[in-house]
Symmetry: C2
Subunit: 332 residues, 2 copies
DNA sequence: CTGAAAGCGCTAACAT
DNA sequence: ATGTTAGCGCTTTCAG
């Protein structure tokens, strides 16, 4: 350690930097002075190697360019920093294979814990063996097999509220559009919609994820004379594509077709009329995940818990029933 | 190393895992088998400690929730991974003090290089002493003091194209709105606008950054009877706030006021009419920054270089001159 | 209260 | 081709 410039032993420097044991004020001062002059910061790797303690947690998200996940990470990072932790963040780019790779790579860092939003339900198969005691908190999406601490939103009830709203506005049919039912969120939202008994007939189309997503099926349904009276997109990326499609087809919202979305984004309030949407408490989810992980890291006991956060639903103009115009009249 | 399960020495395991030296096929196989069974991955920290080589680069951005920076990081991460590098990503949350803290923390990791998008021009003061030989590539924003490798977009020329377009459409006055001229981007864009000689009278308002941003000054200018004929937002966050303000004031675009923005976002193509905007080549910028850093990491020679990437300008309806309607008529 | 020395998991020399 | 050993920078006993 170069900080022997202070003329003390390495042990003393270590003690000062970790405010350990009792170090005389003058010695401490000399050390701090040398540290300042040299611009020294401890080598965190060597530190962990010897002490066994990590102050490092790994974060795996499906896609960093998705504002929702970016916000999740950013919130997490701040919370972690306040607790003295560093974050190693990796994005799986919506690719299960890449997720598996990152998951394995991240173990090389020997993190004290992991927070992961999985690509799909098969997370458990991808969580490398030998992860041993490392605590894992899963957020947002629920793996097929249990055994993890869980933090997610109340997808079903929130989606059901939109479904009931559409029913009460008198919409007779609604096309629900999601990426893939392989993702628990999508599945839960769809289940919630179906569970909400009402006059509306719901039907779902899966369009796929990322670059592989195809709107063809939706387009042909909308071009059809007997097109649905409403659209409900189950995530904001889908919502955006769907909204552009509606515009391209020259359909007016809500006169020709009503429009609602899960995941509220800025643009939904900018367009006219603004879009009815479910807002997810992303920051809360990040905080909850962090707190859960902290608990796990300081005390390995207890069975995994599952926590559900409540979403906010905002009804806006895009799902308003046109006064005096029943859907049949227009279609005729 | 627990992989002595293979019945070989630690050195052989290391050689196999790094495909070093010559290892007999059967020994290699035995090692790989044991590694597989144990789910072992090397401790990257111990590895670096001994070898001195890092395969780690640090990335510092002002704000991860900004889709532009998130895309930058995501692109970077993919490029890094292909080259066998890991990334430690930190967000400064638009706070110079936090940036300084993160910059110093990140040194604890002893990264092989750093890519940073600084909060403001005073980066050099914040780059901790003792960063010694670590190569640094600065992207997007240009520090006041030089000496760094630089990758940015051609802010001035791109902004000038918008300025000339507004002039040729006959707009006599334009209020330019940016966060702060302390940020090089904003300064360069504003300089570019002024340098573009034309009939339009340009004026700038700085609204501040993040939560501290205040639109009051802009609002009073817009409420004024002699409000400007056009608005030009110098970044997408400002553009969004500005667009909402315009809507709140009941001004129609472009009939009452024209609207253009730097940084193209999805919503700009969704609103009606769509917004004239400058699109920045973020992915290209990430790739260029990465390549520059790789060069620096493998060969510390040469003087710092500066690279400018070209932006794409798309003219849309938000800046179209209303047929047969001169601004004066409407204001009267 | 301070220093000397061992050792964390790994790789680079060197020895076999 | 394989094994042995030293030591990277740090923290942790344990002596002084």
């Amino acid at each position: 350690m170069v900080a022997e410039r202070a003329g003390v032993s390495v042990a003393t420097v270590s003690n000062v930097l970790n405010n350990k044991a009792s170090v005389s004020p003058d010695f401490a001062e000399r050390v701090l002075k040398a540290v300042g002059e040299l611009g020294y910061v401890v080598d965190i790797a060597a530190s962990r190697l010897r002490s066994g303690r990590a102050a490092l947690v790994g974060v795996v998200v499906p896609d960093l360019t998705n504002p929702m996940f970016a916000t999740f990470v950013s919130t997490l990072e701040h919370a972690a920093r306040l607790a003295g932790f560093d974050l190693v963040v990796v994005s799986a780019r919506n690719d299960p294979a890449e997720e598996a790779d990152r998951l394995s790579r991240i173990r090389s860092w020997r993190p004290a814990g992991l927070i992961v939003i999985p690509c799909d339900g098969a997370l458990a198969e991808r969580l490398p063996i030998g992860l041993g005691g490392t605590p894992v908190v899963v957020a947002d999406r629920i793996p097929d097999s249990g055994g993890f601490d869980l933090v997610a939103v109340d997808n079903g009830p929130a989606a059901a509220r939109i479904a009931r709203h559409l029913g009460s506005e008198g919409y007779g049919s609604c096309l629900v559009v999601g990426t893939s039912l392989a993702i628990s969120n999508v599945r839960e939202r769809w289940d919630g919609i179906r569970a909400a008994a009402g006059p509306t007939y719901f039907e779902i189309v899966e369009i796929g994820i990322g670059d592989a997503a195809r709107l063809d099926a939706v387009e042909s349904r909308l071009a059809d004379a007997r097109r649905p009276e409403a659209l409900f997109a189950l995530d904001h990326v889908t919502a955006l594509e769907l909204y552009k499609l509606v515009g391209r087809l020259g359909l007016r919202v809500p006169a020709d077709i009503a429009f609602a979305g899960f995941d509220e984004m800025e643009w939904m309030r900018l367009v006219s009329p603004p879009v009815t949407a479910v807002r997810q408490p992303v920051e809360d989810m990040a905080h909850a995940a962090w707190q859960r992980l902290v608990k796990r890291m300081e005390n390995d006991a207890a069975t995994p818990t599952a926590r559900r956060l409540e979403c906010a639903v905002t009804i806006r103009g895009s799902t308003a029933r046109q006064p005096g115009a029943s859907r049949e009249d227009e279609a005729a």
